[in-house]
């Protein structure tokens, strides 16, 4: 996999969630992503960025425009050094929330992207990598 371009931005305050959405939208548009795929990706980014801010205590978002086997993709990574997710199975259950949300953030975001990878351990933070391909 070749990384064509990349960048990082903070996800610490509410306004950063808006900026995360805007960056993703701009990148996806520049890659020529279809509107429906773009909308799904931006929505997933919104959910995960909010999780990073609220549950992870803030973190960063890395983005990468990548190429593999002649396909271009947009990969977004959310990382925080928060408390981590103690029970992953529970966290990946629709409707379950440790806060006061709807419990659709993680599971919903997973459904909206093609690649979804989650690394977490109690006390060791959380890292979620998502991607959509064009």
């Amino acid at each position: 996999m070749t990384i064509l371009s990349s960048g990082t931005q903070p996800v610490r305050i509410e306004q950063d969630v808006v900026l995360a959405r805007q960056t993703t939208r701009k990148l996806a548009q520049d890659c020529g992503m279809r509107l429906i795929d773009l909308t799904k990706l931006v929505t997933a980014v919104s959910e995960l960025a909010r999780n990073t801010m609220v549950y992870g205590g803030g973190g960063d978002m890395d983005w990468q425009v990548v190429e593999e086997g002649g396909r271009t993709g947009l990969r977004v990574i959310f990382r925080d050094e928060g408390p981590g997710i103690p029970d992953l199975k529970l966290a990946m259950t629709d409707g379950w929330t440790s806060g006061n949300g709807l419990g659709l953030g993680l599971t919903g975001a997973k459904r909206l992207v093609e690649d979804f990878e989650l690394d977490t351990a109690p006390g060791a933070g959380t890292r979620i990598t998502i991607a959509r391909w064009i």
Partner: protein, 120 residues
Amino acid sequence: MERIPILQMGEFLLVTIQVDMHDQLALTLQDDLSERISRTSARGVLIDISALDIVDSFIGRMIGTISGLSRIMDAETVLVGMQPAVAITLVELGLTLPGVSTALNVERGMKLLHQRVAQQ
């Protein structure tokens, strides 16, 4: 403080969301709307989201709360103008907005509100 404007049209309130809302702005709108419904005795609320490129679970929840809250306060809520890509994404996200009335555009939404209020 940044706010989403709420317009009064007779016995209805009209909200057009035209900015990419951060969470606090959405919560402020929720509070402002309930206060306005109470103050104006509005019978209906029309929320136009045609300018919204995405609706995530937070905004979805806000819409559901406004709808439920206005019902308790004797007002109907109709959500209008959802873009097709947003609708598809919402369903895939798992958010089907139960109990929220929708219409394709403002005109149809207004018609629906008039009908609902006339029925009562």
